[in-house]
Amino acid sequence: MTAYRQKDISLDLLGITKVYPGAIALNNVSLSIRGGEVVGLVGENGAGKSTLMKVLSGAIAPDEGHIVIDGKEVTSLTSARVHERGIALVHQELNPFPNLNVTANVLLGREIRRGMFGFLDQAAMERKVAPILARLDTRFGPNDAVSGLSLADQQLLEIARALSIDPRLLILDEPTSSLTLSETKRLLDVIRQLSADGVAVLFITHRLAEVEEVASRVVVLRDGRNAGTLGCGEITKDAMIRMMIGRDVGQFYEKAEHDPGRPVLELKGLRTKAYPQHPLDLCLRAGEILCLTGLVGAGRTELARALFGIDRIEAGVLEIEGRRLVGHSVPAAIAAGLCLVPEDRKTEGLFLDFSITENIALPSHAALSRLGFVDIGAETALAEASRRKLNIKTAGLGRAAAEMSGGNQQKVVLAKWLAMKPRIIILDEPTRGIDVGAKAEVYRLMQALAADGVALLMISSDMEEVIGISDRVAVMCRGRIAGTLARDQLTEETILQLAVE
């Protein structure tokens, strides 16, 4: 179609930096890929892989850095321009159009027309789509409805869509997360064929075994930076894990011994909305830091949401301090002394446009009000006390929460719950995207809370953190608790063994 298709691609990302108010997603990241290469891009959750993808696809513009395609610098990428240059992207989140059929989905925006009125040429479109589906060995045909497709089929549909532009570079973001073993194998074969044809493939995944099998080079990201590159022959699961985790660890984890007290939170055969097929049993004791870890999609956040009353509990029993909770809701959870520091600080934890004071005081309003009127003095006093206690750094408590750094934002979320004097705190990825100093403060605070007898359930994917701070670790895998490890059993290997099934 275009001249670009004639030769192999050469793409270089040089010194890409992307800053969000409060967090640095990418810090001087570079990545190069040439035609025929299969490059694996790996890193822990939150290492910056998705942001880098978004930069590549034109969804966001980097604040600094250069993108060079075929030797020429490209300044403003848009998704149309990306397509034009033969770059196809398969997103992690599936968003097919269930109201259209398979052919229409695959060729959306690139429909084949015919005649002077430009009517759709259905037959030609099907002729184009059929061989792509055959190549992927799909169970569905070009005329099938998309609304009936399973998750795995939808994923293959997305891949078919990417292949239909005849790409020079194919970017796959977690393409196998819902595929079965045989489908995965088939996909890896397709990747090999494509690379033999001179197509470059950038393969982003948590499944290191797949990277090991198919990649010719591996780029590792950590904390938004390049952590290193592994060439052909060096690619092993161990080597990748070592780079993903890094070595500069340890110093700020003070391993305080906690005396686990009586059980405060007990799950007996609890079934969540996300994974109703797996009953969960877990016991959290006062003064204990229990870490819930596992890969993305293992069902940790879903469990936290169910415990906090956001999602319905399908079946089973939830007991807080020996009392069974019935008709669970967020206000009921808060009343029972349970609170949640959610995973997504920006949308779930904070009101970014509201002032710091308002954010901290929001759940405490009932206690701070007289006859329904907000006691502004008490509100300010609470915010001021929180600022001192948690060392929140800001030019003023009247400033919008959006103007703070990620670490200070997280302290605000913590402050709003500490004001409620909780007995159980669930922290979902509490240190993601915050700087080292703030991380250390969060850890110290967690230790102090545990010493005061508060029970802490921390969800984390950061291995250093999991090993550094937990008294006990429960590893989740595909919706079930794959195993629980005591402190002396904690190593990266034992955890990853349980997490990757």
Partner: protein, 332 residues
């Protein structure tokens, strides 16, 4: 006062000054009292609309509710001889019921506010017209309700009582929205329903309360309008009033995405709209251009506001970048 309010107040003063210079009749007691009366009447339901808009909702049935409640109120008194305080109580209960119904449909049945209240717009207007057999509900000739008329349509020291009511409602609304827990929750639910429920706010209850409050104020407004016109012709009474309300709220800094706005802003918005209307009349601009003038001013105001928030976002990004360069240390 927020910055936005100060900007709007300046605009109101400027427009007022221009009209006063070009046509001194603007400042005549008669014109001022009439304009103030209209500000009071339109202000009541504009504040009502603001309470719904702050939750990221919309109420399109205000004009039709004003017609329906007006018809019922007048008819209860004129045809059924119901004492006016009882009639007032009945129509207020009816208004609140309408609000409850809207809130219930929106939260429990998860219907979109636009759709629910659009249907309300059609249904209530239809019922009002059917009820009067497409005629007019009015007081019979010679009938006299001195107390009611004094209270609702009278004046004290030249100040129309609609203005007094408007000011009282505005002060109460200011306290409610800016100083009570419910007010905070209205803003929170409108700005970020997810974070609100993560903070333990019962979002369903808050939204229902907003629609009930809106309907209650609309009911009061309907009684004032009925006594102002003395007869209610439901095919035209209150037509498009919801759009006036939305326009005043948007001018006053309320975002249709919810979570923003101030009562002072909506009060100024109402004043600006009525002064503009007055401007069209006094400056001899063809009255057919009335809506066009109003639309242009609102559009200009909204454009200015959007530009301002883009500037604010850019500044935040710049602060974040500067922090990165100063610290030198990566923080991701």
């Amino acid at each position: 006062m927020q910055k936005k309010d100060i900007g709007l107040a300046t605009l109101v003063m400027t427009v007022g000054a221009i009209v006063a210079v070009m046509n001194p009749r603007f400042l005549s007691p008669i014109n001022l009292a009439n304009t103030a009366n209209l500000i009071g009447l339109f202000g009541l339901f504009s504040i009502a609309e603001a309470f719904v808009i702050v939750t990221a909702g919309i109420e399109l049935s205000i004009g039709s509710v004003i017609a329906l409640i007006g018809v019922i109120f007048v008819d209860l008194i004129a045809s059924f001889g119901v004492p006016w305080p009882v009639a007032l109580a009945i129509v207020m209960v009816l208004s609140v019921t309408i609000g409850l119904l809207h809130g219930w449909l929106i939260t429990r049945l998860k219907l979109q506010p636009f759709v629910v209240t659009l249907c309300g717009l059609l249904i209530y207007r239809g019922i009002a017209r059917f009820y009067t057999r497409d005629g007019t509900a009015g007081f019979t000739f010679g009938s006299d309700f001195p107390m009611l008329e004094y209270l609702i349509a009278g004046r004290t020291a030249g100040v129309p009582h609609s203005v007094v009511a408007f000011l009282l409602v505005a002060v109460a609304a200011w306290f409610l929205l800016h100083r009570t827990v419910l007010g905070r929750h209205l803003f929170a639910v409108g700005k970020n329903p997810e974070a609100a429920s993560f903070s333990g706010i019962d979002t369903t209850r808050v939204i229902i309360q907003a629609y009930v409050l809106c309907a209650f104020l609309t009911g009061i407004s309907a009684v004032f309008f009925a006594m102002y016109t003395r007869s209610v012709q439901p095919s035209s009474h209150g037509n498009f009033y919801e759009l006036y309300g939305i326009a005043a709220a948007v001018l006053g800094g309320f975002s249709l995405r919810g979570g923003e706005g101030s009562i002072i802003g909506v009060v100024l918005g109402v004043i600006l709209l009525q002064v503009l209307q007055n401007l069209v009349n006094l400056l001899g601009i063809p009255s057919s251009l009335n809506f066009a003038v109003m639309g242009s001013v609102i559009l200009a105001g909204v454009i200015a506001d959007t530009q301002f928030s883009r500037y604010r976002d850019a500044r935040r990004q710049a602060i974040a970048m500067a922090a990165l360069e100063d610290g030198g240390k990566p923080q991701a």
